[in-house]
Subunit: 334 residues, 3 copies
């Protein structure tokens, strides 16, 4: 595997093989599979699960990793192209990325969306500018629009919990004091659609997901026997839902405009997933979230600490899903 | 072993087995013992020896570890229960701890005392609130009142140096510009008592160790043929001492009250262990300290750099003691 | 090997053996060579390549490492000798270094020049004060005047690229907004000279390298059939050059005097390696730099991104050169 960037790059069989491999490595550890192999980890954006789970994954497979992030005592990283570097930053990402990649058999890169211009972010301009610098196999550890490690972990979680592949999946916007990236909602929508589910995107006006993402997901859903609809009607959305996946995201109507986004967001504090939301859902409807999650803001304590919540299961599956990817990327058959 | 939290949880035979294992692993390395095993390391308080020695210990046993601390570029950790998270912190410790634990076969946690209320700290309220969140085997890397890794390392150090188990051990308060936690003095007192030593706690008025700790230690001493007394008379305390273990700690008379503590502390600058302290001690009386130590404040350069000082030996034993714990917690027979 | 501190400590055969070993480990990995071995990494100065490449190197050889740097959540490190530690720092380097070393089979230490007094820095007063504290084998990860890991990597790079050992090597000063250490230019000069090259040091007035370094390098060059000259004439220097190694460094005429250095430096902005510099160089003249490098300041984008530039190759060789050193220091035959 040369890149793990987007589930859309993989066939159904390939995804099934990754999921099966994740299960196998959980049940039958292979602590010599990646002996002497190195994963370079470059975090241009903050992380907890990704940081921890990739390091753990490499140890479990007998290899190792190292982490570089700008908050370390390094020399300051410049990212702007064509700049005369007479300021604070002493190193340009154009050297840093190939150098870091050169020490590893694969590299994981995290770089969140700039959130200035929706088209630029949709085109993954920044992330591509980084991966274009290297030949090493790479893993998208979250880019402007993608989070395939989370997606694979979530798919595995639904399989683990026997949530039917043609079940009803609600992706719901939630309130949050800050405008957050679209990577998780966009790629989660695609993932559930690709799994063949009937997906409802529940969000207030002004928070519609971008058209191309809806279309890509709808096509994937249709190919798999599922569907994608959008609504701002909570009762309608939750009717018979087997999963509610909550996530806050930026206003797409005012993308990159913090003040307008904040204005639209104010008054939407009731978009906090709470017990009454489940009144007309399936009895065993699950609550999913990629974490970190703000208690009492995105979801009530009652739901988050209750039996519906599978967020820790999802988080652990990050490690297992990534082990499968690393194994295919750097293992004997790679 | 499900938890390594307090030496009091272990029988004499179990402690002897850990000490023997630490020696064995030093002399006969087992670099495949924990192949593919992961130790999660969560530091909610600063660290140097613990941070370094646990990572080294896992490598020596063929496994690995990862570190999470709030000074990293993570999302900010909230610790208060029941809070509506609309401030800066984006993640609650209630998710972070189980997630971090889920990536490891065991987890080490460090969380110093809050030092607001002595009863709360004595009850290990905060540390228990963290370990209650997980089922993973855990190691106390220093809590409000415990530091069992230091204790086991110190015990091993005294064994290594043939300090008699019925010898005289002085635990002395020392001056320090800041009010420090009780974890080391409290658990060191218990350790020396448990080893069967005649323990004298030397401290100025207002710095008495809490009654329940004295009583727990006295009972352990008596069971092992030792004793525990307290005094503020240095000459009496040092008479025939085979070990002086220096440590500064907070005033217990004014626990959590920084200003009153500072007032009491001012004028106690002469509580700096120096050569004359040893005038009536045993000839080969050793100086112990858990580190970090302030030169010229807690102990004179002359003592610290002289032949009595065994602080580096103690620090190295941290790694070996922890290797024994990790081996029993995650190894083949665990 | 007890220390890797300066190429001058090694015979020609020993250097050749290290270079051959670096190549061998690249072509024929030995992922069990350092099984269970630990490298302690102490960074008292910032790092990216060194930080990443040493961690990667240890993984590739089957061992592991840990990193300590003052920007971590440790207790604050005091370095001044003989001080009464009643300020902020809670730990003295006199304890920290032996403790950190005690957890490893070898230790790497980075401590840049103080740049107050040239004689003190030339004498490696600070670095020696650290290595004097330990018996553990150590690696100089850059000191006031040395950077042997970079030197070995650069030597390997020139061998890899078939740059003749009697070729012409230009070490050129370059403009930089800040006064930088002498470690790389001083040790690079010696390295090229030791390799037997005809070395020209190209620098403006006031930036002469220290006499003892020139003399040490000249002696090494003469023994190997090469030469060392100095000039401020670019055309003359570049005539027939097969390598230009660019690096900025402090004014030695005003060492430790920031204002005088800045004054001298102002107006030297044209010392930015650019295409016209190569007009009279050898056709395949290479551009080398240890990185980090400031684009548009030290070197033009055109040169840095062009075919002459071998900076990424050099950086990858850091890992391979260090693997050879680590192997000889901690491996079976060590």
């Amino acid at each position: 595997m040369k890149a793990f960037n987007d589930l859309a790059d993989f066939s159904n069989d390939e995804i099934a093989a990754l999921l099966a491999l994740a299960n196998r490595l959980d049940e039958h550890p292979e602590p010599e599979a990646l002996k002497g192999k190195v994963l370079s980890l470059l975090f241009l954006s903050p992380s907890l699960r990704t940081l921890a789970s990739f390091q753990a994954a490499m140890v479990r497979l007998g290899g190792g990793s190292f982490v570089i992030s700008p908050d370390m005592s390094i020399h300051g990283l410049e990212t702007r192209p064509g700049i005369v570097m007479d300021g604070t930053a002493a190193e340009h990402i154009r050297e840093a990325v190939p150098v870091i990649a050169s020490y590893g058999d694969a590299i994981g890169i995290r770089a969140f969306a700039e959130r200035k211009n929706l088209e630029t972010d949709m085109a993954e301009t920044e992330f591509s500018s980084l991966t274009d610098l290297i030949d090493t196999p790479y893993i998208n550890m979250e880019s402007a629009m993608g989070h395939p490690c989370q997606n694979l972990a979530d798919w595995k979680t639904m399989d683990d919990l026997s949530i039917p592949s043609n079940g009803k999946f609600v992706l719901s916007w939630a309130y949050h004091p800050k405008a957050l990236p679209l990577a998780v909602p966009a790629s989660t929508l695609y993932t559930a659609a690709r799994r063949g589910m009937d997906v409802t995107v529940l969000r207030p006006e002004g928070f519609e997901l971008p058209g191309p993402i809806i279309e890509k997901s709808r096509a994937a859903a249709e190919a798999a026997g599922g569907s994608v609809i959008e609504t701002d009607n909570r009762t309608e959305a939750m009717e018979g839902a087997q999963v509610i996946y909550a996530k806050s995201w930026s206003s797409t109507a005012h993308y990159g405009d913090r003040i307008a986004d904040q204005k639209l967001r104010n008054g939407l504090e009731s978009w906090c997933v709470d017990d009454p939301w489940f009144d007309n859902a399936a009895d065993d409807c699950r609550f999913m979230h990629c974490l970190p999650v703000r208690r009492g803001v995105v979801v009530s304590e009652s739901v988050l600490d209750g039996p519906r919540s599978v967020v820790i299961h999802e988080a652990r599956n990050r490690m297992l899903a990534q082990m499968a990817v690393l194994y295919q990327m750097m293992g004997a058959g790679a």
